[in-house]
């Protein structure tokens, strides 16, 4: 089997660093859970 080429590493297309992108994703998850919690309470 042929040797695979080395994949280049690049910065993210937004927010400049991957660490910031990951932080935004985790904040988004928190907001989503909070929204679902409020949704559940509102229609319980």
């Amino acid at each position: 089997m042929p040797q695979l080429p080395q994949a280049p590493d690049e910065p993210p297309p937004f927010l400049r660093t991957w660490r910031r992108v990951y932080t935004v994703i985790l904040i988004y998850l928190g907001a989503l859970i909070a929204a679902f919690y409020l949704f559940t309470r509102a229609y319980r």
Binding site: M1, P2, Q3, L4, P5, Q6, A7, P8, D9, E10, P11, P12, P13, W18, V21, Y22, I25, L26, Y28, L29, L32, I33, F36, Y37, F39, T40, A42, Y43, R44
Partner: protein, 573 residues
């Protein structure tokens, strides 16, 4: 199914397959056949990852799950974004820099051959069974629509998927996934709009949401902790994180998707897209199930959604009493529902509470009648533990959706299966050829030979999946069954990769023994405890890591020296 439905269905399927095969031209070398020559853009990988996970099971079974149990299944996905972030930061750059075809190839670079082989075998066992379940779901659809035996439809689905996968390789799989996800999004939107339009004119969308909530179908978040409760926010966040770490970090059917990326950044973006989009998508599908439930508050649903079984029990002497009780309960529930809507419009809180109590009493009677009907199925020679959850949405689609849209929804289900199954079979073949055949049987052969071997392995795994598909109908809700099967094996794999990424001193033998201990612990929990399957991954992972660390520090002389074992292994970037 009317003529227009058949036209929509056949046109959709033929165009998806033709487009996938067209885009797969030139997949004549092994790196192109198995990894698309590492040229894929992030959006194609993102949709392919989503499509591989969101099989027909997602569409059929999740809506049924919401109908019977509400929306709390969405919590299962809360761990997914966390898992994606961890995988992007660790596994993605490591796999890319190691220049591997499979995740298990990496394990030999880090540990030794036996650890790689054990991980490969665990994957083959688990994914082979799951591939069978993936084919079974749409076979069920065909069976319901055409009235053919499930065995025949399973074989037809399997044969189609295998042919398509053998010819196209991963490029065909990925590009057909892209088209298929577009059809899925369209189908979901049309389904929701249609079910809302079908509600009585006096019931607004707001009323429908209110009724779903009053019926306990909008329970998206449960904060109470219980080890035996499958779906609550804690099991989703912690158990779910372990499950998705295992699935996206250690399961070749997913790893292979992002190994096709043209760069590390493209692979990361594909996973992060799923971190953002997956939970809202599942919420949306579950919401459709809740709206189908509301629809059936006004239109009497069949006693059983599986018509063949309903016909089977129709001749029994006990049936008329059960049917009558069901009819009465439905009439009471309908009246209570209409009164509830009226009280809600008037803003009369006391009346709302009264009607909710009446509604719940009638619902209890309906549930009892359905349980009695299920027992009649068992007594009439039907399957033990009969469940018609997987037939609820299909029954609704074929009975009430307008002409053309039925064909579209069925096309969605078919396309989802073709894509998910082809991805699974493709990855099974890759592991078989790369981790077993090339490793132990033919270490150096021509590129053409390995492409041919991959095609043959694809054929073998397709046949294996079809054989295991018959098992699916005994497992109740398919969406849960798939995840239960995965959870029996993923914990050990995850533990192995955690050791590979995070513990440099741990050697191959310690990891190998740890994986065996992890599997033993998971099967013990499965067979002898009531612990929810969502925790199996965490349990297996902890046992693997704990056992390997204990061996490493209590018997440091065993196995290969850490320095040589980790030699040349790339570290997290």
């Amino acid at each position: 199914m009317r003529t227009l439905d058949w036209i929509v269905l056949i046109t959709s399927l033929v165009s998806i397959v033709a487009y996938g095969l067209y885009r797969s031209r030139g997949s004549d070398t092994v790196d192109r056949y198995l990894l698309a020559g590492r040229t894929m853009p992030w959006y194609a990988m993102a949709l392919s990852i989503m499509a591989t996970q969101a099989s027909a099971i997602t569409f059929i079974s999740t809506t049924g799950q919401s109908y019977v149990d509400g929306m709390r299944f969405v919590q299962f996905y809360f761990g997914l974004p966390i898992a994606m972030v961890i995988i992007c930061a660790t596994a993605v750059p490591l796999f890319h820099r190691a220049k591997v075809y499979t995740a298990y190839e990496f394990l030999e670079k880090r540990f030794d051959g036996k650890t790689r082989s054990l991980a490969s075998l665990i994957f083959l066992c688990q994914r082979g069974v799951s591939a069978g379940l993936t084919i079974y779901a749409p076979a069920l659809v065909l069976s319901v629509i055409l009235g053919w035996p499930e065995r025949t439809t399973t074989f037809l689905m399997g044969a189609t998927v295998v042919t398509y996968t053998v010819l196209g390789g991963i490029k065909a799989v990925t590009w057909s996934d892209v088209q298929q996800m577009c059809i899925i999004f369209l189908g979901l939107l049309v389904s929701l709009i249609t079910v809302i339009v079908l509600l009585p004119k006096t019931v607004s969308f707001g009323d429908a949401v209110f009724l779903a909530g009053a019926a306990g179908r909008l329970n998206a978040v449960t904060t109470t902790f219980n080890w035996n409760d499958r779906f609550n926010v804690w099991s989703g966040l912690f158990g779910g994180t372990f499950l998705f770490l295992s699935y996206f970090g250690c399961d070749q059917s997913q790893v292979q998707r992002y190994l096709t990326g043209r760069s590390i950044a493209q692979s990361r973006l594909s996973l992060l897209f799923n971190a953002v989009a997956k939970i809202p998508m599942q919420f949306f599908i579950l919401f459709i199930g809740a709206m189908v439930f509301v629809f059936y508050l006004f239109v009497q649903p069949p006693l059983l959604f599986q018509h063949a079984e309903l016909a089977r029990i129709g001749a029994r002497s006990e049936f008329p009493a059960v049917a009558e009780s069901y009819q009465q309960a439905f009439d009471q529930r309908r009246q209570a529902t209409l009164a509830l809507v009226d009280a809600h419009h008037r803003g009369d809180t006391a009346a709302v509470e009264r009607q909710v109590a009446d509604y719940r009493a009638a619902q209890l009677q309906i549930d009892q009648a359905r349980s009695e009907a299920a027992r009649l199925v068992e007594r009439s020679g039907g399957e033990k533990g009969f469940s018609d959850t997987n037939y609820i949405f299909l029954s609704f689609v074929t009975r009430y959706l307008p002409v053309g849209i039925v064909g579209l929804v069925i096309a969605v289900i078919f396309a989802a299966t073709m894509s998910a199954s082809s991805g699974e079979i493709n990855s099974l073949a890759t592991v078989t050829v790369v981790d077993l055949y090339r490793r132990y049987i033919r270490r150096s052969a021509s590129d053409h030979h390995y492409v041919l071997a991959s095609r043959m392995a694809t054929l073998f795994w397709g046949a294996y999946a079809v054989l295991f598909a018959g098992w699916g109908k005994r497992l109740g809700s398919l969406i849960v069954a798939v995840n239960v099967v995965g959870s029996l094996f993923y914990g050990s794999l995850l533990g192995c990769f955690v050791l590979a990424f995070g513990f440099r001193k741990v050697r191959g033998t310690a990891t190998f023994v740890g994986m065996l201990a992890g599997e033993a612990a998971i099967f013990w929990a499965f067979l002898f405890t009531n612990i929810s399957w969502l925790w199996y991954n965490a349990l297996g992972c902890v046992v693997v890591v704990g056992t390997a660390l204990a061996i490493t520090y209590l018997a440091p002389a065993s196995g290969v020296p850490a320095e040589s074992a980790t030699e040349g292994t790339p570290q997290p970037g």
